[in-house]
């Protein structure tokens, strides 16, 4: 009874907020949890739940997993608006059930789950598949150290008794989840025979020491950051055998083409997002398809037909000018975007929009871990750089010390004002790349919405 009351409150507040056109997804779930702290167990029990967690690439991976289900004609619910804390997950399920708490239609759920939240909700969700993307330094001020974040996910994973794990085998932290727990695990990663050894710089060494015995790891190669074929000379911990193995990739401005093998079968796939990190995300989704035993060619085809996630990398055209938005929230995200820019070579302007609200991460010192120095290699292709947001001046300081020219705001200006100015300076045919932090992304998006009247994202 308490459960149904909580459910109704949740549904009612959602309805009220929508009627008022308020885009919040936090409040309804929050109220429901107050009334019935265990509501999620009851809500999720009639669903086959597929969870994705990890520090980077959750949203894109969840989207690609959804595409895999689409390809199979399996209907599902998903918390795709990006609210990945318990309250957001509650709201998502509440919407997927009738007033009596039974699934309205779909009985599958693709759930993106925050790492700390996962430790708390894993047993309630009882997932059938758990995909873990990677562990990079992310919002250190929220969860402490990256090993602590790993422990949170591992705690959750240990409660997901029925789950098949799909793990990034190239990440020693991620792979340790499979090594430490009895669940069946499918590992994905990069094959060493044709892998390029390249990196945004070799300073991302947060996992350079063995998670098991703290000795210095050795790598046959790295793909980016600490991902690669690792082994520990002291204790023997090594990259597990890969079930989904990518052996070549090619990036272009708005797509990535890659070839991979699953056992004896070989496949090619082109996804409509670029960046090596997105190839990894796609492999997570391929591993997900493997876990559910789907037809491999169908899985590949459904990834090809999918589109990128909310704000992660989307392009809108304003007249003859393109504005491309990529959410970045930690140094590895930035380094990957920078690598991507170096690879695709195209004239562009870049606008950094950095806020330091809680959802962004209140500590911005990680700016100094980003290899902005590499942007210099863009040469004449880099037509201008701009900073805005609450910590825009701090970004400008960082870029100055990277030896780069940047336009910053001497008096505070809104993201919209700055973007308007940039658009005025741009010539036809030019591209503006906007790199917002989480809350700045909403400002960017609402600016773009006003410009082109974009659909609200839950329509």
């Amino acid at each position: 009874m308490r459960y149904l009351l909580a459910l109704w409150i949740c549904k009612f507040t959602t309805w009220v907020l929508r009627t008022l056109h308020r885009g919040g997804t936090a409040l309804p779930g929050k109220l429901a949890l107050k009334v019935c702290p265990d509501i999620l167990t009851s809500l999720a029990k009639d669903f086959d739940v597929y969870v994705v967690s990890g520090t980077n690439g959750k949203t894109t991976t969840a989207l690609l997993m959804s595409a895999v289900l689409d390809g199979q004609g399996i209907p599902y619910i998903s918390n795709r608006s990006g609210s990945n804390l318990e309250r957001g997950i509650v709201a998502c399920f509440a919407e997927g059930v009738t007033v009596m708490g039974k699934p309205k239609g779909p009985t599958h759920a693709v759930i993106e789950c925050d790492e700390a939240a996962f430790a708390k909700v894993a047993d309630k969700l009882n997932p059938k598949v758990l995909v873990v993307t990677n562990f990079f330094k992310d919002q250190l001020d929220r969860y402490g150290e990256v090993t602590h974040t790993l422990e949170l996910v591992k705690t959750g994973a240990s409660k997901a008794k029925e789950a098949i794990f799909v793990l990034n085998g190239d990440d020693q932290l991620c792979a340790s989840i499979g090594a430490d727990l009895p669940n069946k695990a499918i590992y994905y990663g990069m094959d060493n025979s044709t892998a390029k050894v390249k990196d945004g710089g070799n300073s991302e060494v947060e996992a350079g020491y063995c998670i098991k015995c703290q000795s210095k790891l050795e790598y046959a190669f790295t793909s980016y950051g600490h991902l690669g074929k690792f082994h520990c000379p002291a204790c023997g911990y090594a990259r597990p055998e890969l079930q989904v193995e990518m052996d070549s990739y090619k990036l272009s401005i708005d797509s990535a083409e890659f070839a991979y093998a699953i056992g004896e079968s070989r496949h090619n796939c082109t996804i409509k997002v670029s960046g090596l990190y997105n190839v990894y995300n796609a492999m997570g989704a391929i591993g997900f398809g493997e876990a559910l035993g789907f037809d491999r060619d169908q899985v590949s085809a459904s990834l090809e037909s999918s589109n990128p996630g909310f704000g992660r990398m989307e392009t809108v055209r304003i007249g003859n000018k393109a504005v491309r938005t990529v959410l970045v929230k930690n140094p590895m995200g930035y380094n990957q975007v920078i690598n991507y820019l170096l690879e695709v070579k195209q004239p562009l302007r870049i606008c950094f929009a950095l806020n330091d609200n809680i959802a962004d991460g209140v500590d911005i010192s990680w700016l100094w871990d980003v290899n902005f120095e590499n942007l210099e290699k863009l040469g004449d292709d880099l037509k201008g750089m701009y900073t805005c947001g609450m910590r825009g001046a701090d970004v400008a300081v960082r870029l100055k010390y990277a030896g780069l020219e940047v336009e910053y705001q001497e008096t505070p200006k809104s993201v919209a004002e700055v973007m308007n100015q940039i658009l005025e300076q741009m010539e036809d045919g030019e591209t503006l790349l906007v790199l917002p932090s989480y809350t700045a992304m909403f400002e960017v998006r609402s600016f773009l919405q006003d410009k082109i009247k974009m659909k609200e994202f839950w329509n």
Partner: protein, 254 residues
Amino acid sequence: MDGLSIRICHLYPDLLNTYGDKGNVTALLKRCQWRNIEAEVVPVSLGDAFDPDQYDIVCIGGGQERERATVCQDMIDKADSIKASLAQGKVWLCISSGMQIMGKYYVNSQGEKIQGLGAVDFWTEASKNKIQGDVVAECNLVGGVEDQDTYVVGFESHSGRTYLGEGVEPLAKVLVGQGNNGTDGTEGAVVGNIFCSYLHGSLLPKNYRLTDLLISRALVGKYGQEVADQAMANTPDFAVEELARKGCISRVLH
């Protein structure tokens, strides 16, 4: 100024780099170079030799618990050369875990007492609650013209509580934030040319006057006061640094 050079040692950059500590080293490097002082950064990590005569400035940053333990062990091997560097009055910047290691001892969460280098008279006790947030603190070592020129800004994130021994000066007095222990208003410690602080990561880029103070101290030690004064007389542009610092002060103080 031509003919001058500064060598900066970045100690354990692969282990103690949790909070953008590279920024401190970059700030020192750039502000030397902008003055035409030849400058170079040399990483020194586990098992590497540390030659005290080689480096005018030494930076050691903050790290995670398990990496700090590894570093402590290695520093014992390097203790003689580190002590020689300190005794020669070389400039040291020790942030967070790097600061704790410089003290007399550290009591960890299990109650074990871990010996530090004892370079500065302070000690640290673990606590369950982590201190986190933006800090504004007054540092009288950095001069200026306007009132708030002496304010340094930074971000603190530490669970250790550090207590200064008698007569040990803090680096700064906390105006907003918790500082060394959340009770006595002190932030960091400074003895001679050893600068310790909990303000991690980008302390120096956020506070160009402090960066310049460290460079000046290193030049005085190497070339004498007169040459140092000449080299420091011309201050590289600091407009955007000041904009960021003042932006932080106004958001934190009000």
